[in-house]
Each structure stands twice: as C-alpha cells, then as structure tokens.
C-alpha cells in the first residue's frame, strides 16, 4: 500500500530522535513501579493495616476521586489501587506527547514537508509514530509484569496491572493521533488530547465517588485499568474494551489523515486583530501574551492540588494514626501535630511543583533566544535587562501566585470540613508562602545558567530533581545534615512548631537576588544565540 511507503524509515527516524527521551520516560516508570512495589509489602502487611486503609477509602471520597475504587483486600490489590490510576495518567501523557511530537509538530515546523516529498506515503508519519509508541507501551507492560512478579506479586495480576498501563498509553497515543489531524498547531493538538485525558479522569472521579452515577466510570478509559481488576479476579474482557475504542479512534484518525490537505487541520485557526491593542507596546505586555496560557493552566492545576490535599488533610489522623510505620515515617519529617506536619510536608511538595512552573517560565527566555524571537525585540530600543526581566517577572511572581492559590484552596477545603475556614486559610497560606524563597533560589539558579552557561540551562531541571530526591528520600535514608543542606527546601522553617525563625528565609531571598543579578549581568555581557 503506497500510503504506507516509508513507514520503516520514519520509525527509525523517530527512534533516532527519541533515543534518549523514550528510554528516560520508560526508565522513570520502571523505577517508580520498582521502588513503590518493594516498599509496599512492609507498609500493609497485616490485615489490620489493610482494613484501616480500606475503611478510609470507603469513607473519604478524596481517595476514591484521586485513586479510584479498590477491588480486593490483599496487599497486592491495594498496590494496584494506589498506583494504577496515577501512573496510568502519566503513561497516557507520555504517549500522547510523543505521538504529537512526531506528527503534527513535525508538520507544523515544515520538516515533515521535506520528508513527505520523498518516497513517504500519506499515512506513514501517523503509522510510524503510533507503532513506536505502541511498542514502547508493550515494552513497559512486559517490564512492569516482570518487576512485579519478581517482587513477589501474583503473576496474572501483575500482567493485568502492566496491561492496564500499556493500554491507557496505547489508547491516548491513538487519541493524540486523532487530535493531530484536527488542529494546525501541535500545542493545540496536545492540549485537546490532554483535555480528553483530564475530562475522562474527572468523569471517573465523579462515577467512583457518587453512588447514583457509578456507570459514568465505564465511560472513562482511566477507570478501565482498575476494572481489569488486577490481583482481584482479573476481568480480561476489559482489555477488549480498550482495544475496541482504540480501533474506533484509530479508524477516524486514518480517515481524516487521508482526506485532509498537508499542513491543514479540520479546525481553521481564527484570524487575529489587524492592529495591536494599545496595551501591547512593552516587553512585559509581550511576555504576558506569551506566558499567560501556561500560567492559567498552572493556576487551574493548583486549585486542583489544593482541593485534593485539603480533602486528604481531614482524614490524616485516621489514616496514619492507625499505621505506626507510616506515622513513624511522617514523624521523622517534622514537629507539631500530625496535621501540621502534614501541611508543612505537603507544602514542601507543592513548592517543588511550583518550582517546575518557575523554571519553565524562566526557560522561556532561552527558547525565545534560540528560536530567534529575542533578536527582533533586542534590535529595537529594548535593552537586554529589560527584556529578560519581562519574562523573569513570571518566574518570580508566578510561583507566589500559585502558592497563594494552592494554600487558599487547601485551607478552604480543610477549613470547611472542620468548621474553621478563617483560621485554616491563614495557617495554610502561611505555610505555603513560607516556601517561596526556596523556589526563588531555583529561579535564580536557572537565570544564572541563562546568563553564563546558556547551553546547559537544562541543568536547572537537574537541580530540581536533586532537591526533590533530597527532600523525599533524605530523611528516610537518614542522610547527613550537610548533604540535606544543599537543598534550599531543607532550610524552610516549619510553621507548625513554636520555633519559627525568619533568618533562613532572609538568607534564601538574599541568595536568590544575588543569583538573579549575576544571571542578568552575565546575559548583558554574552553573545546572543544566532543559529536557528
């Protein structure tokens, strides 16, 4: 079939382009499954501990919303409940991003046009990217099955668990294959597929938490993995449901692909204004146009995060109070009441997530520069510092806004549950905003790299990963204080105890200011990237 000509070559091209990306994604999932599987048995090895968590799932709707309904009461089944939905979402996310990257993104950039002028059929780009991502998911399923069986989990259940992850990935890869036909821009194609993923997650959350509309979960692929019932009398026919729906989306994607023009989508982009509004006349206004979409998305995410963590806070004493091992782990992390420790702990995590946004916003500087979009601005009367600061504003004030939103929502939800809104919002906002200086150190580090080692700017992500690992594993592994002190997040004082001190915060702010200033100084002195 000539429409498929060149598929083999395109598969090799995709594997060559993703020779790091794909293995890193897969390795990440394998490490997560491996480490959580090996820790799981010890946490819930007695029937009492299991009964307590199952009771919680029954009474606390946040758990059902977040992780779904549990089937079976074995430790294995609880593992599948706890990790199936969350890992599944990320597998789906990986799959849809990679498919768009090799289809619509290539088409939008114009590179695919060059490729398509060769002996490459119309359907080859879509087919090859689907084959690559399907293959990656099959490899993942095999690896996960192997790991779980090796860790002592039951064989059939391990296969069902691995299959649930892979089938989510395969389905959303196909959905991305479809959205890539619909829109002209890759960003929009990703957003559409992401919205489908988010919507089906919410649909399942709704179905799983409300008795009356339980059937809703059956309309959501994110609920199907759980309904394969790993370790709880596997329902293999659910795999057929996955495959059937995948087939339907696939056929639609192929039909659209055959019918449409190269470069075109189904949804024509709307025209913009013929003139710029009066406000679009400063570098900051331009930065706002470029950064606002990202910021809106993150604000929505933080509302969601705050709601989830606020909801869980209410049940925290019941869950961990009855599990001495878990309580011991938490106790090592701070002082105060269990809920206060939990708040500080959660805010530490939320702050790390806000750092992801901050680094993203700061890295826009570099992507504007290498995309040769800084050049036209800097060739006008806009100075380098002014331009850099226009984006830096988002990297600095953005996380402040996010933490404020997250803290407020969390305090609101928990406050509503215990009838203390005014008090809880205050405490929760305080414990979220106190994290800001640590976030800013990372922002400053990203800017320092931008000024002096722009090619290595991705090292800002590496720093974040190191801080995450130190924060999450340090206390459990009982690392030395010297090692822990490397992370600015270690220095954030606990707001729960009585010994709150602002000194480390002043230090952290000082360090961030110095890093930012140095970064701007370096950027003023260096050459601008000129290669496209």
């Amino acid at each position: 079939m000539t429409a498929l000509a060149g598929t083999g070559s395109l598969i090799r091209l995709a594997l060559r382009r993703d020779r790091w990306l794909l293995p890193i994604w897969l390795l990440l999932f394998i490490v997560i499954v491996q480490s959580s599987a090996s820790a799981w048995g010890a946490l819930y090895d007695t029937p009492e501990e299991r009964a307590s968590i199952i009771g919680q799932i029954g009474t606390n709707p946040t758990f059902k919303a977040l992780y779904g309904v549990n089937y079976g009461d074995s430790a294995d089944a609880l593992f599948a409940w706890r990790y199936g939905a969350t890992i599944g979402v990320f597998v789906a996310l990986m799959s849809l991003l990679i498919v768009t990257r090799h289809t619509r993104a290539e088409e939008e950039s114009g590179r695919l046009e060059l490729v398509s002028a060769g002996v490459v059929g119309r359907l080859a780009p879509l087919t090859s990217s689907l084959i690559v991502v399907y293959g990656a998911n099959i490899v993942l399923a095999a690896a996960v099955t192997g790991i779980l069986t090796g860790a002592g989990f039951e064989g059939a259940g391990s296969l069902a668990f691995g299959l649930g992850l892979a089938l989510s990935g395969i389905l959303f890869a196909t959905i991305a294959g479809l959205t890539s036909q619909v829109t002209e821009s890759a960003r929009f194609a990703n957003a559409l597929a992401g919205i489908v993923l988010g919507a089906t997650y919410l649909l399942r959350a709704l179905g799983d938490t409300s008795e009356g509309v339980g059937w809703l979960s059956w309309f959501s692929p994110t609920g199907w993995s759980a309904r394969l019932k790993p370790f709880a009398g596997e329902q293999w026919w659910v795999a057929g449901l996955f495959l059937g729906v995948t087939l339907v989306f696939g056929v639609v994607a192929y039909v659209l692909n055959l019918r449409r023009d190269f470069g075109a989508g189904l949804v024509a982009p709307k025209p913009g204004p013929a003139r710029a509004s009066a406000s679009l006349s400063t570098p900051l206004a331009l930065a706002w146009r470029l950064q606002r979409g990202l910021l809106y998305g993150w604000i929505a995410g933080f509302v969601f995060l705050g709601a989830i963590f606020g909801g869980v806070a209410n049940g925290i004493n019941d869950i961990f109070g009855s599990n001495p091992e878990m309580e011991e782990v938490i106790r090592k992390l701070g002082q105060g009441t269990l809920v206060e420790v939990y708040m500080d702990l959660v805010m530490g995590m939320v702050a790390l997530i806000a750092s992801v946004y901050s680094i993203q916003a700061a890295l826009r500087l570099r992507s504007e520069e290498t995309g040769l979009l800084a050049e036209p601005v800097l060739a006008t009367a806009v100075g380098r510092v002014k331009w850099a600061v226009s984006h830096l504003v988002f990297a600095v004030l953005g996380p402040a806004l996010l933490l404020l939103v997250g803290g407020t929502v969390m305090g609101l939800i928990y406050g509503l549950a215990i009838d203390d809104v005014s008090g809880q919002v205050g405490t929760s906002v305080r414990s979220s905003l106190v994290q800001l200086p640590a976030v800013w150190v990372l922002t400053g580090f990203a800017l320092l790299l931008f000024g002096f080692l722009p090619r290595l700017i991705a090292a800002a992500w590496a720093a974040l990963v190191v801080f995450v690992l130190l924060g999450q594993l340090g206390p459990i592994l009982e690392l030395s204080q010297g090692a822990m002190d490397v992370s600015p997040f270690t220095h954030i004082p606990r707001t729960g105890g009585e010994a709150f001190t602002a000194t480390p915060l002043i230090w952290l702010v000082g360090i961030s200011v110095v890093l930012c200033a140095a970064g701007l100084y370096g950027f003023r002195r260096r050459d601008l990237a000129t290669a496209g």
């Binding site: 204004p273 206004a285 036209p376």
Partner: protein, 301 residues
C-alpha cells in the same frame, strides 16, 4: 556625520570558526550600500555585531556615531533591522507584530504602516503561524519601513518575495534613500543590488575583498573580445592584460583587463577588422570572480 557605519579590523571567533577576520566596512550617511559575499562569508555576523547582539573580539565599530555594543539601546531607536529569515510569534497576528515592534523601537508612522500593508498586500489579521516565508518577510519589512529611522540594516530582506513584491521593495528603498536614509543591504540578488546601491562591499571569509561603486568595480574585471580579421594576427600574446587567447586562422578570441582594452583593440585593428563583438563584464562575472577561487584566498581581479 558623514559616516553612518564605520568598521575597521573587526575579528569575531565562534570556537574554532573565524567568522570575521579583520573586516572593514564604511558606509556614508545617505547612501545605499550593497553588502555582498558568498554564504558563510560573515555578512550576518557583521550585521549582528552592528546591532550589539554579538560582541566583536577586537577591532572598532562605530554606528551612527556610537558604540554598537555599549550604546545598543539608544542607537536602536534610530535604526531598523530586517533579518533574512524573519521569525514571528506564532500566536500573534501580523498586524500585532508590526505595531509591537514599531512601538518597542519608539513609535511608528501609522499612515505609512497602513500604506505599506496595502502596497505589500499583506493580510495583517492572519496569525503568524499561518504566514508563508514571503509573508513573514513582509511583516519584518513593513515593521522596519514604517519606522522613522535614520538607518536600515537589511540582511537579505527579500528572500522568499515574489517578483512583484521585489519590485515594490525596490521602490520603497529608493524612496527611503531619497528622503535621506542610509541603507546597508546584504543581498544575493544582483539585479536588486545594481538598481539600488550606490556603493558595494564584497566580503569573503570574514574579510573585505573589494569596496567601491559598481562602475569602479567593473573596471577591475575583463571584457571578452571576438573578432574576424583580414589576416592572421601575431604578437597578441605579448600584450599585457590579455588572457585566454585563442587564434584560429583569421579568427581570434580573448579576454582583456578592462584598463588594457584600448591597447588591445589598437593591436587587433592593425590586422584589419571584418567583424567584432565585445562583451562588457556582467555583474555576475564580477561577483563570481570574487566568490569563487577559495584556493587562492585573495583577490583575483
């Protein structure tokens, strides 16, 4: 101020690549100056040094009386730049980008902007993501030409434009020149250079190899002569400035350096001329001679 741009002995290295190797360039105020050279010769690097986007390793560069690196921001109010591959923010419309870039430069002439949008037949409502290469260039050109500036730095600005738009571009530059603006125009389109430029500089491997008016440059190259004579010619090979001499009976063909043309023709006519064709040097030949010959590395005129 007589000199708008003055560059002397500028060096710029990128790692092992010697992009600019002692480059000299002088552009008088009010002239349209052609900036020529093969791909990779250092034209864009020079313009980026002049814009203060790159810092010269050594040598001096003066732009509108200021230092392009130190005084970048103030100088940029007085100039406009169009690159050979205009990049635009995909989510903004062409009209928004034109206005934005103009305002960032310190204001743009609204009447002129509307006039240019019409002349270049640009649809300013389209999102930049959907523009073709030629339309992206138009956005960059309109943003630059609609500003009231003293100097235009144009780096292959018409790449991707169709011939009609190319003609409109040339008209615009002639108008700009008449109103006293200085233009530095890097281009590979020789017809464009010939019709617009007062003077040209040719650079190769980061060095200036030739500067002058087009007629001055023409003098540096050869005219080809083909003639049928009354008798077989002799002694032509000993004339200075004669190259590639081919004698076939009474027919003769050769090339001669333009400044030796007179002496060569006198020698030829002494054998009795029955027919004669003379081809003046074309610009193409002139440039090819400068662009080629990587081995010698020096001037070959």
């Amino acid at each position: 101020m007589d000199t708008a741009i003055s560059v002397s002995g500028v060096h710029k290295r990128f790692g092992r690549t010697h992009a600019l190797d002692g480059l000299d360039l002088s552009v008088a105020t009010g002239e349209v100056h052609g900036f020529l050279g093969p791909n990779g010769a250092g034209k864009s690097t020079t313009i980026r040094v002049l814009l203060g986007l790159l810092r010269a390793d050594s040598g001096t560069a003066t732009l509108l009386g200021g230092d392009p690196w130190r005084d970048a921001t103030t100088l940029h109010r007085r100039l406009a730049y169009v690159s050979g591959d205009v990049t635009l923010w995909p989510g903004l419309s062409g009209g928004e980008i034109i206005d934005l870039l103009g305002r960032l430069r310190g204001g743009l002439n609204k009447k002129r902007r509307d006039e240019l949008v019409e002349r270049f037949e640009l649809d300013p409502r389209k999102k930049a993501r959907t523009y073709s290469k030629g339309n992206r260039q138009k956005v960059g050109l309109i943003a630059a030409l609609a500003s009231d500036v003293e100097l235009l730095l144009l780096d292959e600005p018409t790449s991707g434009l169709d011939p009609l738009m190319e003609a409109i571009f040339q008209d615009c530059i002639k108008e700009e020149s008449q109103s006293g603006r200085t233009v530095l125009l890097s281009s590979h389109i020789l017809a464009e250079v010939e019709s617009l430029c007062d003077r040209v500089s040719i650079i190769r491997n980061g060095k200036t190899v030739e500067t002058g008016t087009l007629s001055e440059l023409r003098h540096l190259t050869r005219t080809s002569i083909a003639a049928e004579l009354a008798s077989a010619p002799t002694g032509l090979e000993s004339l200075s400035g004669v190259h590639d001499l081919a004698v076939d009976g009474n027919n003769v063909k050769f090339e001669v350096d333009t400044h030796e043309l007179d002496a060569a023709l006198k020698a030829v006519t002494s054998f009795g001329v029955r027919s004669l064709t003379s081809q003046p040097p074309t610009l193409e030949e002139l440039f090819l001679r400068h662009y080629e010959d990587e081995l010698n590395g020096g001037r070959t005129a």
